[in-house]
């Protein structure tokens, strides 16, 4: 008998698989909507923590899915959530990459690529907004977000440094 939470994790993240255009950072609002608003698996605070842990960890952005799965049902939850979001599109990618060369120069492919670019940008900006509403509870927190965004835009500092500095500031009570 498979525990119901595992089935629900598989359903929720499996459904997200094909909606993941432009990477996992683009679908944060949808993950938040399902995990916090619909399923009530996590609170806003839990969600912000899961996001922080996944971003501070080496590896792809999609690890937030693993952390959410872990919070819902431990190691098995993490495994199921991660496999569920990867497997459907992986099979599709495997199939498509073999016929890809035939469509490489098709005008429709170029149009799809050029059309999806602004869609992705809208999604990523929405992710930033939803994360700020979820993660930032004080004016200082909003300040950290705005200053980090500004510095990341105008400098070439490695992104990890921003997280390190924030962690130190936070540990000393600046938040």
């Amino acid at each position: 008998m498979i525990p119901p939470p595992l089935i629900e994790l598989a359903e929720q993240f499996g459904a997200l698989s094909f909606l993941t255009i432009g990477g996992v950072n683009a679908i944060i609002p949808e993950i938040h909507r399902r995990v916090v608003d619909i399923e009530h698996w996590l609170t806003d605070v839990d969600f912000a923590q899961a996001f922080a842990i996944s971003q501070a960890s080496p590896g792809p952005n999609m690890l937030i899915v693993s952390v959410i799965g872990w919070k819902v049902y431990g190691f098995l939850g993490a495994l199921v959530a991660t496999v569920a979001i990867c497997l459907p599109t992986s099979v599709f990618t495997y199939a498509v990459s073999h016929v890809w060369n035939r469509f490489r120069d098709a005008p429709l492919r170029a149009a799809i690529q050029r059309g999806l670019a602004p869609v992705t940008v809208g999604l990523v900006l929405a992710s930033g907004y939803v994360l700020a509403r979820t993660a930032d509870e004080t004016w200082v927190a909003y300040g950290i977000t705005v200053i980090t965004a500004a510095l990341a835009l105008v400098t070439r500092v490695h992104p990890l440094w921003f997280l390190v500095v924030a962690a130190v500031l936070g540990a000393f009570g600046v938040h």
């Binding site: 698989s17 094909f18 909606l19 993941t20 255009i21 990477g23 996992v24 950072n25 609002p29 949808e30 909507r33 922080a52 842990i53 996944s54 501070a56 960890s57 590896g59 792809p60 952005n61 999609m62 690890l63 693993s66 952390v67 872990w70 990867c86 459907p88 992986s90 495997y94 498509v96 990459s97 005008p107 492919r109 149009a111 059309g115 670019a117 602004p118 869609v119 809208g122 990523v124 900006l125 929405a126 992710s127 930033g128 907004y129 939803v130 994360l131 700020a132 993660a135 927190a141 705005v146 980090t148 965004a149 990341a152 835009l153 921003f162 924030a166 936070g170 540990a171 009570g173 938040h175």
Partner: protein
């Protein structure tokens, strides 16, 4: 693999739905060893980060009672949010000169961030609309 091939595969893996880096490993792996190659590449890429992030999550769970740990994590999530905002703005810059692209960005933002529309509906409307705009304005 040549650099040109690599760039092409990268653009393909970003273009297809699904986590980009996973798609990349599936494609590269399949080049060499078929389905088993894809599986190996994917596992090789994900296994360590997966275990590390869970170890961090477990550590966090153990020490979350400490104020300093909770506060540090909250500050990290605020900063990481800033990085996502910066990424969005960087990606938006090259689109700024094209009216329909700006319109799509704004529509997407309003739908997902302010109205909290389900992503499936938003994509069902926006994706065909955006691709149609790209098609009409193709050179």
């Amino acid at each position: 693999m040549t650099e040109r091939e690599f760039t092409e595969l990268l653009s393909l893996s970003q273009f297809l739905p699904g986590p980009n880096i996973i798609n990349m490993s599936i494609i590269v792996g399949s080049r060499y060893q078929g389905p088993l190659g894809s599986l190996a590449a994917c596992l090789g890429l994900m296994l360590m980060p997966f275990l590390i992030v869970l170890a961090l999550a477990a550590l966090y769970g153990r020490f979350a009672t400490l104020d300093a740990v909770r506060e540090a994590t909250a500050a990290v999530s605020s900063a990481a949010t800033g990085l996502v905002v910066a990424m969005g703005l960087k990606m938006a810059r090259p689109l700024a000169g094209t009216a329909w692209q700006v319109a799509i960005v704004v529509l997407g933002f309003v739908a997902l961030a302010l109205l909290r529309v389900p992503l499936l509906w938003a994509l069902a409307v926006l994706a065909p609309l955006a691709v149609a705009c790209a098609w009409w304005t193709r050179r």
